[in-house]
């Protein structure tokens, strides 16, 4: 059964069940992924996935049910189960099925709907051979991966709103091991591209090798307070780990400390953060409508240190007497609607990385963070993270540093950003330039 056929079944079943308010979210994804190892293709995967989620409001309460099975019997179960779920709910305020935005900033169609397997195979093999050719100390390229992804999302609801968009992206990833003096060092790099002709194996292999070679001879550092420079990649990862603090729903529930802070200064004056669903360097994360059918748009979250707005879905906006900011997102078809950014981006500053190092004097330059899923808590702002990078002395890189942690609190960190680099880069849905922080606790020797 196709999506359109299944949709007709749902409309019929919802009407028969007396459900007046509902939406049906649909997603379809294709992905082809190629792994090269020791000059051969070791793994090849070709995945297709279809998912549907039916959300209904009965007696003011919202229930969800999702499936991957498209037949008439399942269209009956989906409606019955969502209704049963709604029956368990106690929260009956501000449940809304959206009537539609005035206009939508439509995305162009997906750049590609498929990519030749032979091209992906060629690129994966190239990553491995180029990495090995670049430096004889490269011991093994554990992951040389090329991938193509296509995704289609659609939303239909009982107001007749009928939206659809699709997108595609290619990706390259390289993770390798360098051996020097009996020790092993890892380097990795991943990048997303708007289309297959832009895949740059030299760039990905080269950066992964540079990262591992740069780490050679690294050792820990003395514990203490240091100024810290996060590279653009690690700054974006930090922003991603703590993006939850900008959710109005989290603030309303006390899970973010930004409740009531709209209009107030919460960060250093150099800090400007945008939520931009159409950023030209974002690929797979571009979106013109959110999981509730609200049109997305570009806005300031923080402007020159002042919190301009939190991010809202329909429910948190109704609670606050505001309009949704188009941030009622679904992480997948199987997820409920939750407030989340589209692309959350720290705007670049004026300084080169070298200038940031000169400003810092003695500092740590962090190029790799680990444990963000476990040792960074967005409800408290606390973090304590395994880090790698370089020790900066006299404003210059003096040596590689490893086996240390940086710890602090993200709310405080926003106020302690003293300068931003001009080297903005975007990592999936989060982007940032390199960022100089006046001081963080470092644990090492």
């Amino acid at each position: 059964m196709t999506y359109e056929e299944f949709k007709r079944e749902i409309i019929k079943n919802a009407e028969a069940a007396g459900i007046a308010e509902y939406d049906l979210y649909y997603s379809r994804g294709l992905s082809t992924t190629v792994f090269a190892f020791k000059e051969e293709i070791s793994d090849f995967s070709d995945k297709t996935s279809v998912g549907l989620c039916f959300r209904c409001i009965t007696d003011g309460k919202t229930g969800y049910s999702h499936t991957q099975r498209l037949d008439a019997e399942e269209a009956v179960r989906l409606v019955e189960d969502a209704k049963a779920c709604a029956g368990i709910i106690e929260s009956d305020e501000f449940s809304i099925i959206y009537s539609g935005s005035e206009s939508y900033n439509k995305l162009p169609p997906a750049a590609e709907i498929s990519v030749d397997a032979s091209l992906l195979i060629e690129k994966a093999l190239e990553i491995e051979s180029k990495a090995k050719a670049k430096d004889p100390r490269v011991l093994s390229v554990d992951y040389a991966i090329s991938a193509f992804s296509y995704g289609e999302t659609a939303l239909y609801n009982s107001h007749g709103l009928d939206l659809r968009e699709d997108r595609s992206a290619c990706e390259l990833y390289c993770s390798l091991v360098v051996e020097d003096g009996g020790r092993k060092y890892i380097g990795f790099e991943g990048k997303s591209y708007a289309s297959s002709d832009k895949m740059d194996t030299d760039g990905v292999a080269g950066k992964a090798v540079d990262m591992a070679i740069g780490a050679i001879g690294g050792k820990s550092v003395k514990s203490g307070q240091y100024p810290v420079i996060f590279s653009s990649r690690t700054a974006a990862e930090m922003l991603g780990a703590f993006a939850g603090i900008f959710s109005a729903d989290a603030a309303q529930k006390g899970l973010s400390l930004l409740a009531g802070k709209e209009g107030e200064k919460i960060a250093a004056p150099v800090v400007t953060i945008m939520d931009d669903p159409f950023h030209p360097e974002s690929n797979f994360t571009k979106t013109s409508f959110d999981g509730e059918g609200v049109a997305t748009y570009t806005k300031h979250v923080i402007k020159n240190g002042v919190l301009k707005t939190l991010l809202y879905d329909l429910k948190s906006a109704a609670k606050a007497g505001k309009a949704s900011t188009g941030n009622g997102m679904k992480a997948s078809f199987a997820s409920n609607v939750e407030v989340s950014p589209t692309n959350l981006l720290i705007s670049p500053g004026e300084h080169s990385l070298e200038e940031l190092m000169q400003k810092a004097g003695t500092a740590l330059y962090i190029t790799e963070l680990k444990g963000l899923h476990a040792s960074a808590d967005s409800s408290t702002g606390d973090f304590s993270l395994e880090s790698k990078g370089y020790l900066i002395e006299n404003g210059k890189i003096s040596r590689p540093a490893e086996q240390f942690t940086v710890a602090g609190n993200f709310y405080r960190l926003l106020e302690d950003i003293t300068a931003l680099g001009n080297d903005f880069q975007i990592e999936s849905a989060y982007g940032a330039p390199s960022a100089l922080i006046s001081g963080l606790a470092v644990a090492g020797e």
Binding site: F44, D46, L70, C85, I88, I89, S91, K370, S384
Partner: protein
């Protein structure tokens, strides 16, 4: 069976039609339910179904994987043809004969999710919620949730295996947030079993877990920052076993051993840990969160001794990496769902009981950290560099547990830390977690008695 035997034979035959030497079908029909209470109300209820199949073909050590949501004969044939086309050009279908094999279900379930009334589930969630919220006026927010999953799978392969399995998972989440208006601190407890809803009638008291989560949040709200540097650390039992899981367990998975990059590659029979350390991965523990009847390649669960008295005994091996390493499967091929090809993963992994008494371990520490509760972590398999979070910690001075400290993490290199585990206690217990890797997120238990690590870097501030 999700797929009829005759159809499975045809699909496998087609999968091998282009030169593959092994083919497998993994079909799945899973039901998931979740109910969440937050902000004094039950606000989210989701029911759902995952439905699809993955077809895998090998030629030597090359593997192709393709998925579909269409479990009809036509849909599966199309999927098999897509995968087979990557192996080579079309020749004739291969004759495959399947024999149905039944494995005993050693993880009995009395109450499936659908057999319990929604009102009873709601009452359970509310009871835990209010136990948590009423623990202290400093608890400003609470979240309790019930997660239920029934995974029905059918596995067939060209060696003739045709079998099915049902896995029932039940987990209860408690999240506490304490605040003084300026700072927040959190606490988390999430017991889980490979059992049905009866677990809440005879085994798990959700209100006790809720109070424990609340206690952690309140304790941490009043705690100072953990100091930074290298020190002696005592790590408490149950979820404390996260240290072995990250620092050592992942490095013993064939996924990293087969590539030759694990620091433990080629070290079977060698001493890699302190002689007090015996470590086991046991998928057969009845109804434990990380248990299985059969793995996701149809191999029966096993109890695998990884390290005995400090000496490396073996690895966790899946079928494909076993081909590369010349080893047989250890019943460790696991995956989150049909959307992932399986690879070697842990089940219930733990450091076994040792000779030391808990009080002696604490008494032995002049100055250090007592990590009562651990959070999650991660590891880089090629170097063994790992990290994990301390959810609730205390300073130890002169053999006494003193004030609580917050915000700590522990980092180190697996091969070094496993040598530094120099005292092992007796109060072995297990804790439920989700483990993420290239084949997705799978339920795993970690476990240990109280242990002492003579020296490790504590990431405080």
């Amino acid at each position: 069976m999700l797929i009829k035997k005759a159809i499975a034979e045809k699909i496998l035959g087609r999968a091998l039609s282009t030169g593959g030497d092994f083919a497998e079908i993994f079909a799945e029909d899973s039901l998931k339910n979740s109910i969440r209470m937050i902000d004094d109300k039950i606000d989210t209820a989701i029911s759902g179904r995952l439905y699809g199949a993955g077809i895998r073909i090998y030629r030597g050590v090359k593997s192709v994987y393709a998925t579909t949501n269409d479990l009809t004969e036509k849909g599966l044939l199309e999927c098999a043809e897509r995968a087979a086309a990557v192996i080579g050009s079309l020749k004739a279908d291969i004759q495959v004969n399947l024999t149905e094999k039944k494995y005993p279900d050693v993880h009995p379930v009395a109450l499936l999710p659908g057999s319990v009334d929604a009102k009873e589930k709601a009452a359970l969630i509310k009871a835990a919620y209010w136990a948590l919220k009423n623990y202290s006026p400093e608890i400003v927010q609470a979240q309790t949730s019930l997660l239920e999953r029934v995974q029905n799978v059918c596995i067939a392969n060209s060696e003739g295996l045709f079998t099915e399995d049902r896995r029932v998972y039940t987990r209860f989440g408690n999240l506490a947030l304490a605040s003084d208006g300026v700072e927040n601190q959190s606490g988390w407890e999430a017991p889980g079993r490979m059992r049905g809803y009866e677990v809440f009638r005879d085994e798990i008291d959700v209100e006790e877990y809720a109070k424990t989560a609340a206690k952690t949040a309140v304790t941490m709200l009043h705690a100072g920052n953990c100091p930074a540097g290298r020190m002696t650390v005592a790590i408490e039992n149950a979820f404390g076993g996260a240290i072995f899981h990250e620092a050592c367990g992942h490095l013993l998975e064939a996924t990293s051993v087969a590539k030759g990059s694990s620091p433990f590659a080629g070290k079977i029979g060698q001493k890699i840990a302190n002689e007090k350390v015996t470590a086991i991965d046991d998928g057969t523990i009845p109804n434990a969160w990380g248990s299985i009847n059969i793995d996701d390649e149809g191999s029966p669960a096993r109890r695998n001794v990884l390290i005995k008295d400090g000496v490396l005994q073996g690895y966790l091996v899946d079928r494909l990496n076993g081909r590369i390493m010349g080893m047989e499967s250890t019943g460790s091929g696991r995956r989150e769902s049909y959307q992932y090809a399986p690879t070697s993963r842990m089940t219930n992994t733990y450091i076994d009981k040792g000779p030391d008494k808990s009080e002696d371990i604490i008494k032995s520490i002049e100055y250090g950290l007592y990590a009562r509760k651990m959070g999650g972590g991660s590891v880089s398999p090629a170097t063994g560099e790992f990290n994990f979070a301390v959810a609730e910690g205390y300073i130890v001075r002169k053999g006494e547990i003193c004030e609580a400290v917050r915000g700590a993490s522990l980092i180190g290199k697996g091969a070094e830390i496993i040598m530094n585990i120099d005292m092992v206690g007796q109060n072995l217990a297990h804790g439920a977690g989700m483990c993420g890797s290239i084949s997705g997120s799978v339920p795993t238990n970690v476990g240990q008695p109280l242990i002492r690590v003579s020296e490790i870097t504590v990431g405080g501030r």
